[in-house]
């Protein structure tokens, strides 16, 4: 269940529906990313999110395929906003149901790392003192690389 949303969505409602859809799962881990109201460059007034329609969905589907091959999980839920977002609005919701909690935790963590570094989204922060395109930090690339070593053992 992958969705690129051009309008605000309700994370709690979406999560509730997802939890119902995977009734047999004993564990559900979710991640919610929201627009922060402050940043190094001062107060954030808005976030603009661009994507590459069609291709973005394909990159997301690839990440999901990798995660489901690697962990014993239900089909994950990913909703990712595009367009102009106000502070406090939800950017991304990831939820993963599984029989066992470690699978759910690791898969959600993995999905977020790859959404940050592989999925076709571009983010511009509109601040009181100007605007800036956001690029992954070195730590984001390092986070994603954590999964390389263990790839063959799982």
């Amino acid at each position: 269940m992958i969705r690129v949303a051009s309008e605000p969505f309700d994370p709690a409602g979406e999560l509730k529906a997802y939890e119902r859809s995977c009734e047999t799962a004993g564990a559900v881990v979710s991640f919610l990313g929201k627009v922060r109201s402050g940043s190094k460059g001062g107060a954030v007034t808005a976030l603009e999110l661009e994507h590459y329609p069609g291709v973005t969905e394909k990159t997301m589907a690839k990440i999901v395929t990798e995660a489901t091959a690697r962990w014993a999980i239900d089909e994950p839920l990913i909703i990712h906003r595009v367009g102009r977002l106000a502070p406090g609005e939800a950017i991304v919701l990831v939820a993963v149901g599984a029989a066992h909690r470690r699978d759910a935790f690791e898969a959600a963590d993995y999905l977020m790392d790859y959404l940050k570094t592989e999925a076709m989204f571009w983010k511009k922060e509109m601040r009181e003192d100007g605007e800036a395109w956001i690029e992954p930090r070195e730590s984001d690339y390092n986070d994603a690389r954590r999964w390389d070593g263990a790839k063959d053992t799982n």
């Binding site: 661009e50 394909k58 990712h80 950017i91 592989e118 076709m120 989204f121 571009w122 395109w133 690029e135």
Partner: protein, 83 residues
């Protein structure tokens, strides 16, 4: 006409997210196309050549130089920042 797509900061530098460009026989590869753009707009050319930028032709990522035609959709992709 080939369709060029500029994402993220490249769109700002190009002054627009999309651009149509005639790709003639002289412009047979991606790197020649980028040189043609650079000849007209030095800042955009430099941005497109930055090693962090990836290229997609007809929605498929391409590694390095590749053939392009007048029917192609050519996307310039700076580092992504989803999530």
């Amino acid at each position: 006409m080939a369709r060029l797509l500029f994402f993220g900061r490249l769109g700002d530098i190009a002054g627009g997210r999309t651009r149509d460009m005639t790709v003639t026989g002289d412009v047979a590869t991606l790197s020649i196309l980028i040189e043609a753009i650079a000849a007209e707009d030095e800042a955009l050319g430099a941005a497109l050549k930055d090693k962090s930028v990836r290229y997609a032709v007809n929605e498929a990522l391409v590694a390095g130089d590749t053939a392009v035609t007048d029917c192609d959709e050519i996307a310039f992709l700076p580092p992504v920042s989803g999530g």
